[in-house]
């Protein structure tokens, strides 16, 4: 049976298995607006993500899961706190350094696929390497194409590919530069369930067979079940951590958050979340 542990929000979530940390957040806070109208999208989050693992960040809409990912990926700037990629503190890097970071060490998979319509699948996959001015590692490229089942589709443009195929191209694009971590934002949100399952399997294989690190944002418990670990987030705080989630355990975790919500919203900052099991 899986173990679900709800932890105090002001303590870092430990990385199970003692693996090296690929990504860390320390007191990460993001607020919008000022004074009375202040919105705390992220409220002092501490969390670690291990290398070589597939982690899901789960939470209802507006929970702050996307904001967390943006900050961890260096796409958005934090109001306070720190985010680390390996040993690099990315909070405080300037745009130039962040661009370099995104080129070499971070990959992205988007809900809308976001492929460039005028380029073929192959050109889309190799684009990040070209933008960085590097040479494509053909062996790695072939491995990716093989693993993702894209061999027959390389000369097609995005318009000629199905949603699932487009997302697989996007995964290959995210992995081509062998980044330290890949962030996937609701990668199945625009796909039917069969294609979604396929894409999630590919993400898992990328971690298991190719040794990549993937952090996926989702609100879907069945998607989270493909991950090695699910971090639950609600109202801008870490609200739980599930290792080896199943659709049921993930759903239960989410349900628990929902029932907590009114309570959480009125709770004064700094107090701990109720530590009841699922």
């Amino acid at each position: 049976m899986d173990t679900t542990v709800y932890l105090p929000a002001d303590q870092p979530a430990p990385a199970p298995g003692g693996a090296a940390r690929a990504v860390r957040a320390r007191s990460l806070t993001k607020t919008y607006g000022k004074g009375e109208a202040i919105v705390r999208a992220l409220d002092g989050v501490d969390v670690d993500f291990e290398e070589g693992r597939f982690t899901a960040i789960m939470g209802p809409s507006g929970s702050g899961k996307s904001t967390l990912m943006h900050l961890l990926a260096g796409l958005d700037s934090a109001t306070s706190g720190q985010a680390f990629l390996g040993t690099t503190e990315i909070t405080g890097l300037n745009d130039k350094a962040l661009t370099r970071l995104r080129r070499d060490r971070v990959g992205f998979v988007f809900q809308q696929f976001n492929l460039l319509p005028m380029f073929t699948a192959e050109q889309n996959i190799t684009l990040p390497v070209e933008l960085a001015g590097g040479a494509v590692d053909r062996a790695w490229f072939d491995t990716l194409v093989e693993t993702l089942g894209l061999a027959g589709r390389l000369t097609h443009r995005p318009g000629e590919l199905s949603g699932g195929q487009q997302q697989r191209v996007a995964i290959a694009r995210a992995l081509i530069a062998q980044p330290d971590v890949v962030f996937a934002d609701e990668p199945t949100g625009n796909l039917d369930s069969r294609s979604g399952a396929e894409v999630l399997s590919f993400l898992r294989r990328s971690v298991r067979e190719l040794g990549r690190t993937i952090i996926m944002v989702t609100h879907d418990p069945s998607a989270a079940a493909y991950a090695d670990r699910a971090v639950l987030i609600a109202d801008g705080r870490i609200a739980g951590d599930i290792s080896d989630p199943t659709p049921e355990s993930a759903m239960a975790g989410l349900d628990a958050l929902r029932t907590l919500e009114p309570d959480v919203a009125t709770r004064p900052a700094g107090t701990t979340a109720p530590g009841t099991g699922a």
């Binding site: 996307s66 990912m69 943006h70 796409l75 958005d76 745009d95 130039k96 661009t99 370099r100 995104r102 080129r103 070499d104 990959g107 992205f108 988007f110 809900q111 809308q112 976001n114 460039l116 319509p117 005028m118 380029f119 684009l127 990040p128 070209e130 933008l131 960085a132 001015g133 694009r173 995210a174 530069a177 934002d185 609701e186 949100g189």
Partner: protein
């Protein structure tokens, strides 16, 4: 009205949100309507100036009595005194016009002469210094003339006149070709009279401005000089001052009848009118003629500017519709009809057009007024008004044209607005691009235009080259315009391919460039429209500049072929030719001189052959064709190939040249320099004849303004005793070049407006791309595109769009320019096809730099796009 009220409110609301973009399109309209306004106001100024100049010659006369037949009818002395005797008439002044050659040494030339006024009311001239001339050896000058002749009151000037024997004019009517009036009646006689300048008379209203000023002599003297001409100028107008100025705008009938009765000696009868009536009628005559041509000429450029502005507006409204696609879809969802959306876009265009046109009219008026304020600083010699006179046309016309063009240009975007599906509001995707059909009809029509146009152009060129310049020009201009229309119409079909080919070269420079090229080709229609707007302007600029350069070069080579020298001075007697040569050689700017003797000899079996002889070294140092001149040695003669063929001689053959004192055997040297045909050395000439020769001084000008040097040479030659006649093809060439340059400058300046508007279009297109590709830009930023690369990408897009338009425009302009030169200039001789490299490089550089600059504003918007936008679901 039930449906229009919400539409209007909606339109205003949307306009408020798009102020920036509307301003960009508005600038295009402002520039073109300002252009139209300035043209209309300038037309008014020209008309006013013409009227003032026409009226000026009548001074403050109350009436003008005109001969109905301006050619034959002439007022005699009897008529003048009879009119003067009419009851109520105070003074009468016949309007005598006569031109004479008035000089001070080398300075001066033909000049208009005016009579000393009987009454200050009857002359535009006002004495400002000294006294009016009273004797026939006295003269008063306008200040410009005095300045040009470098004389003041008390100095003397010379008047050269030709006295023809009695009956000369009749003898010229003779149809008998053998008739020799000079033998029967005696040779016409050149006389020079010395006149003393007694005073300076100003011409404040510019009555003589077009003549460059005037000289006044007593009326009797002027009459005598005019009467001595074989064909005296008729006195077709009398200026009349009345005892009491007439009340009202017209002449009282009794007075008019009395004057007409008095002037009964005028063939064809007379008419009597007030000065204002005559001036108005004459102005209408002039402004309906050459001034109308000028007006149409400038309006053509205004039309080009408007056309390009229309293309920019169309693109801008495409941007606006694309930008608002979600709003439009939402409106459709909540029940807005397609007609309401259509009207909303058109209403917006009408408001924008009207506001921008109003700004344009004010801008144009301010510019025109500024020009009038600045103009007096450049001594134009023409009194121009100090303020503009806005008419209702100069306000209503630009407003109607500006608003009308804007609405027309917005028709297509308004239609695309109606095609927005209500569903688009729900689609969480990028703003969809607006697709328009490019029809087969377009292909067929444009192909017909291109084929027909180029055929007519080719025919026109062929016609022009075979001598039919006028018909050739009509065919070439019509064909060229048709072909150009076809090219512009079909641009959307082929221009993207050209851009792709050019882009393939650019794409090698890096991933950002490759992205830019791919982006440029994503919306071929828009790229084509933007490039085409620039192409039109660049084609026309290149065409004008190529045509002008070809004209210049053709004229230069024609002059070089005809005249081997820059300046030639002929003297009336060989006695002082050496003095003249020294004087010319000492003139600054003269690099070399040579004495060239003309003689009539027998050459081979050709009697009375004209030859020229010179010292070979002097000649070689002086002529433009030194290489050829150097081949002349003692014992040889230079012959052109044609001449040698005619005489059946070839290089090295010998031919005999004989004169009164003997003959020499000379070796034939074939020269390619036609002007050196029949040239021998001075030494050889001295062995055969001393009679029937006359010697000229030829000079070569170097490194100085030919016109100035020519004037200095004239002065220098005039200092030497005896008469000298100076001829300066170099100065002619320089003047021609100047005229060509001025015309080119004006035309290119007018076209520059169109190019500026087209460049605004490039900015708009790039902005549209940035808006449409917000998500994509964000994705690229997320996967590692740096801000610099994003800026670079847009810069390459801008440069590519502008570059394609510029390069194609240059190619087309060269073709049209050469075709025009071939058609128009063939009458002058061999046409040279010049490539104005400097101009072309400048045009290309301006286009590329402007393309780069055009990308700056859109790029700023693009880099502001946060990568997070790529992840956002909405």
């Amino acid at each position: 009205m039930a449906t229009s009220f919400p539409t209007a409110r909606l339109t205003l609301g949307q306009m408020r949100r798009s102020v920036g973009r509307l301003t960009a399109a508005g600038v295009a309209i402002v520039i073109s309507t300002a252009f139209v306004t300035v043209t209309l106001l300038a037309g008014g100024v020209i008309q006013g100036t013409t009227h003032d100049m026409v009226a000026a010659q009548y001074a403050r006369a109350d009436l003008v009595v005109s001969a109905t037949d301006q050619e034959q009818g002439s007022f005699g002395a009897d008529d003048v005194s009879a009119v003067a005797a009419v009851d109520g008439v105070d003074t009468v002044q016949p309007l005598v016009s006569w031109m004479g050659d008035l000089r001070n040494g080398g300075k001066g030339g033909y000049l208009a002469f005016a009579p000393v006024p009987e009454d200050s009311r009857l002359s535009p001239l006002e004495l400002t210094d000294g006294a009016w001339p009273a004797a026939d050896d006295e003269v008063a000058l306008t200040p410009q003339v005095a300045e040009r002749l470098e004389v003041g009151v008390g100095d003397t000037v010379t008047l050269a006149r030709t006295l023809y024997p009695d009956g000369w004019a009749d003898s010229q009517e003779s149809v008998d070709p053998a008739a020799d009036p000079a033998a029967e009646l005696g040779e016409p006689e050149e006389v020079t009279e010395t006149l003393t300048v007694t005073g300076l008379a100003d011409d404040p209203y510019g009555a003589y401005a077009t003549y460059g000023g005037a000289a006044a002599v007593p009326a009797a003297t002027l009459d005598a000089w005019n009467a001595a001409e074989p064909y005296p100028n008729p006195v077709s107008e009398l200026l009349v001052a009345l005892d009491v100025p007439p009340a009202g705008d017209s002449v009282p009938a009794p007075l008019s009848e009395a004057i007409q009765a008095a002037a009964d000696g005028v063939a064809g009868g007379t008419s009597v009118a007030t000065t204002e009536e005559v001036a108005t009628a004459k102005t209408a005559e002039q402004t309906g003629g050459q001034d109308l041509v000028f007006f149409v000429f400038v309006m053509t450029f205004a039309a080009i500017a408007l056309l390009i502005a229309a293309m920019v507006i169309t693109n801008t409204f495409q941007v606006l519709v694309a930008q608002r696609i979600r709003t439009l879809a939402l409106l459709r969802c909540i029940g807005a009809g397609t007609g309401q959306l259509y009207r909303s876009v058109l209403l917006e265009a009408a408001i924008l057009g009207a506001v921008a046109s109003a700004v344009g009219i004010v801008t144009g008026a301010v510019l025109a007024q500024a020009a009038l304020l600045v103009a007096p600083a450049f001594d134009l010699g023409v009194p121009i008004p100090t303020t503009i006179t806005p008419t209702w046309q100069s306000v209503v016309l630009p407003l109607a044209v500006g608003a009308g063009v804007t609405v027309l240009a917005a028709l297509a975007p308004a239609r695309s607005a109606t095609r927005v599906a209500p569903l688009a509001a729900l689609r969480p995707s990028d703003a969809p691009t607006l697709h328009a059909r490019s029809g087969r009809a377009r292909l067929v029509i444009s192909l017909l235009c291109v084929v027909g146009g180029f055929t007519a152009l080719g025919g026109g060129v062929a016609l022009g080259m075979s001598g039919g310049t006028q018909f050739g020009l009509v065919a070439a201009v019509g064909g060229g315009a048709l072909a150009f229309f076809g090219v512009v119409l079909s641009a959307v079909l082929w221009l993207p391919r050209f851009a792709a080919a050019l882009g393939a070269l650019v794409a090698r420079t890096g991933p950002a460039a490759r992205l830019a090229v791919a982006n440029t080709l994503r919306n071929p229609r828009r790229t084509a429209a933007t490039s085409t707007a620039l192409l039109i302007g660049v084609t026309l600029v290149t065409m004008m500049s190529t045509g002008a350069a070809s004209a210049r070069m053709s004229a230069d080579s024609l002059l070089d072929e005809t005249f081997p020298y820059d300046v030639s001075v002929s003297t009336s007697s060989p006695d002082y030719v050496e003095d003249v040569r020294d004087a010319v050689a000492d003139t600054p700017g003269v690099a070399a001189t040579a004495l060239v003797t003309n003689a009539i000899v027998t050459l081979g079996d050709m009697e009375d052959a004209g030859i020229i002889a010179a010292d070979p070294q002097d000649l070689a140092a002086m002529v433009n064709v030194s290489d050829e001149a150097e081949r002349l040695t003692d014992g040889s003669i230079l012959l052109s190939q044609d001449e040698a063929d005619q005489m059946s001689l070839s290089e090295g053959d010998r031919t005999t040249v004989s004169g009164t004192d003997g003959s020499v055997d000379l070796a034939v040297v074939i020269t390619t320099a036609d002007p050196l045909n029949h040239t021998i050395t001075a030494a050889d000439l001295s062995r055969i004849t001393d009679d029937d020769t006359w010697t000229d001084v030829w000079a070569h000008i170097s490194g100085a303004d030919a016109t100035t040097v020519l004037a200095d040479v004239q002065d220098a030659a005039a200092q030497v005793d005896g008469e000298a006649f100076v001829m300066g093809p170099a100065a002619q060439a320089a003047q021609f070049r100047q005229v060509v340059d001025v015309i080119l400058g004006i035309v290119v300046g007018l076209l520059a407006v169109a190019v500026v508007i087209a460049l605004i279009g490039v900015t708009n297109t790039l902005s549209l791309s940035v808006i449409e590709r917000t998500r994509e830009s964000a994705t690229l930023r997320a996967i590692g595109l740096s801000k610099e690369q994003l800026r670079g990408m847009l810069a390459v897009e801008g440069v590519l769009i502008a570059g394609v338009g510029a390069i194609l425009g240059i190619v087309l302009g060269l073709v049209f320019g050469w075709a025009g030169a071939a058609t128009a200039l063939s009458v002058m001789g061999d046409v040279r096809y010049a490539v104005p490299w400097t101009d072309l490089t400048a045009v290309l550089a301006v286009a590329l730099v402007a393309g780069l600059i055009a990308s700056v504003v859109p790029a700023r918007a693009a880099v502001r796009t946060h990568p997070v936008a790529a992840l956002a679901a909405e």
